[in-house]
């Protein structure tokens, strides 16, 4: 029986986030949210492991109360239980303090054999959480796992393929192990109606700063963050290049070919 944890995040649809030109702040109000796409692949890998070897899948997230919607989506796709870490003091956390908080919260749920998380998030996109969580969990790590070949819960080992720039390595990891997966072999499943209904009614455990034993308030939220963003600014947009508008595609292309040939670019 495997005890599996999946760490997920609700993210704003970054395509729709805008910067207020007056204040220079990001406008998030009214921007729809979604479950971080790569987290759905992590969940799928976790659920496949449960189906193959038996066990339970717990999903955990940190965020405002509305992040429960992401947890319900995960429950509909095969997770068994869900935990929301929520509270003002957690806000503004970078990966250093988020990894601390999530691992501390997970400790209250017992020891996990496998931990999955998405390769990176749509909004922060640092791709750092996996390695940092693995350190917090004192676990082995496999980032960019292509395929989990097999897991032997009795021997506490897992064999997996990991994609590198120039090939694929096969690795053997001890449990507990944290993994991020490449999406090609772990496409998210579409929840069925029954799953959706059950997820809607499911209870979501909420952990506040008071529910996590041994939590060091200096290591969470803004005080626990290693990085800050002192300044944001709109990207400098260069002046547009030369539009070719000769009246037809054929003429535009002829002009382009002439210009490129003139520069010896072709």
């Amino acid at each position: 029986m495997l005890k599996i944890l999946v760490c997920v995040k609700q993210v704003p649809d970054v395509e729709l986030v805008k910067m207020d030109p007056e204040t220079g702040n990001l406008v998030r109000e009214g921007v729809p949210t979604l479950t971080n796409p790569l987290d759905t692949n992590a969940l799928e890998a976790a659920v496949q492991m449960k189906e193959k070897y038996g066990g339970t899948v717990t999903v955990i997230t940190m965020g405002p109360p509305m992040a429960a919607a992401t947890l319900r989506e995960c429950l509909a796709c095969g997770a068994d239980s869900a935990v929301l870490i929520s509270g003002r003091p957690f806000g503004g956390a970078d990966t250093l303090s988020t990894s601390y908080t999530v691992a501390k919260a997970a400790e209250t749920l017992g020891k996990f054999d496998l931990i999955f998380c998405g390769k990176e998030s749509l909004d922060g996109a640092t791709g750092q959480m996996a390695s940092q969580l693995a350190e917090r969990f004192d676990a082995a790590q496999i980032t960019g796992c292509l395929l989990i070949e097999r897991c032997d819960p009795d021997k506490n080992v897992l064999i997996a393929q990991r994609a590198l720039e120039n090939g694929v390595e096969t690795v053997e990891a001890r449990l507990p192990c944290l993994l991020t997966v490449e999406k090609q072999n772990y496409r998210a499943r579409i929840p069925n109606l029954r799953g959706k209904l059950a997820a809607r009614k499911a209870e979501i455990a909420v952990l506040t700063e008071n529910d996590i034993t041994g939590l060091d308030p200096r290591k969470i939220g803004v005080p626990g963050s290693g990085t800050i963003v002192p300044r944001i600014y709109p990207p400098a947009l260069p002046e547009p290049g030369q539009f070719l508008s000769e009246g037809s595609t054929e003429k535009n292309v002829a002009r382009l070919v002439g210009l490129l040939a003139g520069k010896s670019a072709i």
Partner: protein, 333 residues
């Protein structure tokens, strides 16, 4: 210790035992520039054995010193030994900053030792700057899908850790210094403590079409592409120009082209002489990864941001323009 007591900057030299990966050398050249401003010394850090000729290349990047770590556990790569080595070294020497090339393995172990050292870590900066008032490095990068540029700093903790993507900075060595400090450290990592170890490795079949980082001509297709069946003409155009095909992130996300062809801040960084892009919106994350001699953009939306980055722009149906271009190029031959 106060943060100003942490001195000098380190660059990790990734290698495969035979040759140093370009990213470490690129970083040495860029961090050299930074150290000249801050007054820090630049040290290259090499784990495991690397031939002398390759160490010479590292010296050629005007480093002030080379720290070589000997011991068990460094070949093949594994997270535990690599993270541990930097933690041990950093506790001993207290550097102000550690830069690690953002390869798959660099991004695997650097955030982990940052937690071991209880410090801040950033990734994918496109520019490095220094603020003398605070003594902090400014890691500057596009954020939130390219909507903004963000300045990220590590305001109190040290070392400042940053992973930087291959190709972000140029390899422009200025030559070895007269004096290069040599430090050798013995840090053994017992094999039995390696919790994830390589059993075997299967190299990808070399497909030159998938290596676009040094390509002179690139034809890039973006989210405007209807579907994979429309790719043929772009491949043909690329072949006619003696170039290769690339793509933007949405095409990888849609499963149409592989990650190795994704151009931009979070993919491959390219420096072609001639760059064509079709149906590309012009998100900052994408254009941040391109430094082109001549830049041509084709998009059906005249307001597309990509036109701000191009030399020549054509407003029109991407497939039609591509077909016309193929015909025109064939007619020239």
């Amino acid at each position: 210790m106060e943060k100003r007591d942490y001195k000098n900057m380190w660059v990790y030299i990734e290698h495969d035992g035979a040759a140093a990966a370009p990213v470490g050398l690129e970083l040495c050249c860029e961090v050299r520039r930074l150290c000249d401003v801050t007054g820090d010394k630049l040290y290259a850090v090499v784990l495991g054995d690397l031939p002398a000729a390759e160490i010479e290349k590292v010296r050629g990047c005007a480093v002030d010193g080379v720290i070589r770590v000997k011991g068990t556990g460094y070949s093949p790569y594994n997270t535990d030994a690599y993270a541990n080595a930097f933690t041990v070294l950093s506790r001993k020497y207290n550097p102000s900053a550690i830069f690690v090339g953002g390869s798959i393995n660099g991004r695997d172990f650097a955030p982990r030792f940052a937690v071991q050292l209880d410090t801040g870590c950033t990734s994918d900066a496109m520019e490095l700057d220094y603020d003398p008032a605070t003594g902090d490095i400014q890691f500057i990068e596009p954020a939130v899908g390219g909507k903004i540029m963000a300045v990220i700093t590590v305001p109190t903790l040290r070392p400042q850790v940053g992973t930087i993507r291959p190709g972000t900075f140029r390899y422009a060595p200025t030559g070895a210094r007269a004096q290069v400090e040599e430090i050798t450290e013995q840090i053994d990592f017992p094999r039995e403590n390696i919790r994830c170890r390589r059993l075997s490795f299967k190299p990808d079949e070399a497909d030159p079409q998938l290596d676009i980082s040094d390509c002179d001509v690139i034809v890039c297709v973006g989210n405007g592409l209807a579907d994979g069946t429309h790719l043929t003409r772009y491949r043909e155009l690329a072949a006619l120009l003696g170039g290769k095909l690339g793509c933007t992130r949405p095409l990888f996300d849609r499963g149409i082209l592989p990650y190795k062809l994704q151009i931009g801040q979070s993919g491959v960084i390219v420096k072609p002489k001639l760059y064509f892009c079709f149906g590309v919106s012009g998100a900052v994350n994408h254009v941040a990864g391109i430094s082109a001699g001549t830049f041509v953009a084709v998009n059906s939306d005249p307001d597309a941001q990509i036109f701000n980055y191009c030399d020549y722009g054509i407003v029109g149906d991407m497939d039609e323009v591509c077909d016309e271009l193929i015909a025109a190029l064939k007619a020239r031959k």
